[in-house]
Amino acid sequence: MLRSGRVDFAGVVKQVNLSYVPDARVGEFVLVHVGFAISTVDESEARQVFEYLEQMGELAELEEGNRP
């Protein structure tokens, strides 16, 4: 029940409870709140804020390197 793992917060590593993200695997990104991972980050959805902008034709001047 108390599955936990080490999570790297941009250099600061903390032990985090993983009970609520049973499918989380090593290398994945998780959202952490008060010591608990409450969601895994869906990398395929992570670009949609830029894709939405592209569809509106408002991202023309964005350089390739700035995108996630």
């Binding site: 993200v21 008060v34 608990f36 409450i38 980050v41 804020v49 902008l53 509106m56 964005l62």
Partner: protein, 378 residues
């Protein structure tokens, strides 16, 4: 940093600002529900990128801010008892009670400790069997799974010296209370993304149907908020009202099911008083009967406190979107983070604290001596 810096890109933000200007033809008032969103908006100046027709008002989504005064008084009473180790998240320690705060209790010798996670309090209870360890469980749906797990673990470990002072609140009933108020100005909501990671967004579907107000589940970075505003204004301009999910990288429609399961096992839904707003039906969580043995209010017999709000604090109106922080006559003068009148000036999610921290040099404040607005700072 992955999944953070990208969402602060100024070019993309300018793109959303242009797109918003293109589609906005009428004035609209939107409310961002969560205090974390308020801080991002004020810190990054997101509101300054919006067309003049679009106004953001700041919602009640700051757990520290809405915790009622009588609960702070109960916390202060328990924390001052001998043999008690009182644990809390840091924000709560400086919230003013009737006469003093938890930090004062600590200064007078009370064992008051800041913890990072409720599980730290459980660990303290195991390590200190001679003491009573009490955790101040304040929060929204985002924090409820962690607190539920702490109680569940304490129960499994057979700990008899661990208890919780519970002041949990729920977001959708508060949104409904705002919508059903005749004074409400809110025409669309940016719902709190992190609450939805736990609860999903099916609860909002009935709200949208009943009040015909668009609700967009929104993240916390500047681009998230700009896209959330865009999606909400687009619906309003087109005369539509549906639930949309801007924050799909973290939020799924049904939320986090294992978390919901433990929360509904450990807690039950109850009416709850919100500081500055009043009682809202079915808007809080208390321990379920099977876990009532962990209820600090029962264990320490502090069930009967009542306390009055300072008359000067208008945080209730601010959290319902009726006033902005700097429109309060006490803002930045008699109410500062060092000497707060109310919790919205204390918490890292409080909107008064956000305006004080990021905007006070640009905002006009009310000058009490000659009753006129004077410019402050540079």
């Amino acid at each position: 940093m992955k999944f953070i810096d990208e969402y602060r890109d100024p070019e993309a933000a300018a793109g959303y600002a242009r797109a918003l200007r293109r589609i906005t033809t009428r004035p609209w008032t939107l409310m961002e529900v969560c205090g974390g969103q308020t801080h991002a908006i004020v810190k990054f100046g997101v509101d300054e990128l919006l067309p003049p027709e679009v106004t953001l008002v700041h919602g009640p989504g700051c757990p520290v801010c809405v915790t009622p005064l009588e609960l702070i008084e109960k916390a202060i009473e328990i924390a001052a008892m001998p043999h008690v180790i009182f644990c809390s998240f840091g924000d709560m320690l400086r919230v003013p009670g009737d006469t003093h705060d938890l930090l004062t209790v600590k200064a007078r010798g009370g064992d008051v400790r800041i913890v990072y996670s409720p599980l730290d309090a459980v660990a303290l209870a195991r390590a200190n069997p001679q003491s009573e360890v009490v955790f101040f469980a304040v929060g929204f749906e985002t924090t409820a799974p962690a607190n539920a797990m702490a109680v569940f673990q304490a129960s499994r470990l057979g700990l008899t010296n661990f208890s919780m002072l519970v002041s949990h609140v729920l977001v959708p009933p508060a949104m409904e209370a705002i919508l059903s108020s005749p004074r409400s100005r809110v025409q669309g909501f940016l719902a709190a993304g992190h609450v939805c990671t736990v609860m999903g967004y099916t609860e909002y579907e009935s709200l949208v149907e009943k009040y015909h107000v668009p609700i967009v589940v929104t993240g916390f970075e500047p681009l998230d908020i700009l896209q959330g505003v865009y999606m909400c204004v687009k619906q309003l301009e087109e005369g539509r009202a549906v639930v949309e999910n801007q924050y799909a990288r973290a939020v799924r429609r049904t939320g986090n099911l294992p978390a919901q399961e433990l929360v509904s096992k450990v807690f039950r839904v109850v009416p709850r008083k919100w500081r500055g707003i009043g009682e809202i039906p079915q808007s809080g969580l208390a321990l379920a009967p099977a876990y009532a043995g962990f209820d600090a209010e029962l264990r320490f017999g502090v069930a009967g406190h009542s306390a009055d709000e300072p008359a000067e604090c208008c945080s209730g109106q601010i959290m319902q979107g009726l006033l902005k922080p700097h429109q309060c006559p006490a803002f930045g003068a008699r109410c500062t983070p060092e000497h707060p009148l109310g919790a919205t000036m204390v918490s890292s999610e409080g909107s008064c604290a956000a305006y004080y921290r990021y905007r006070r040099l640009q905002l006009p404040v009310m000058d009490r001596t000659n009753e006129k607005v004077v410019a402050r700072g540079v």
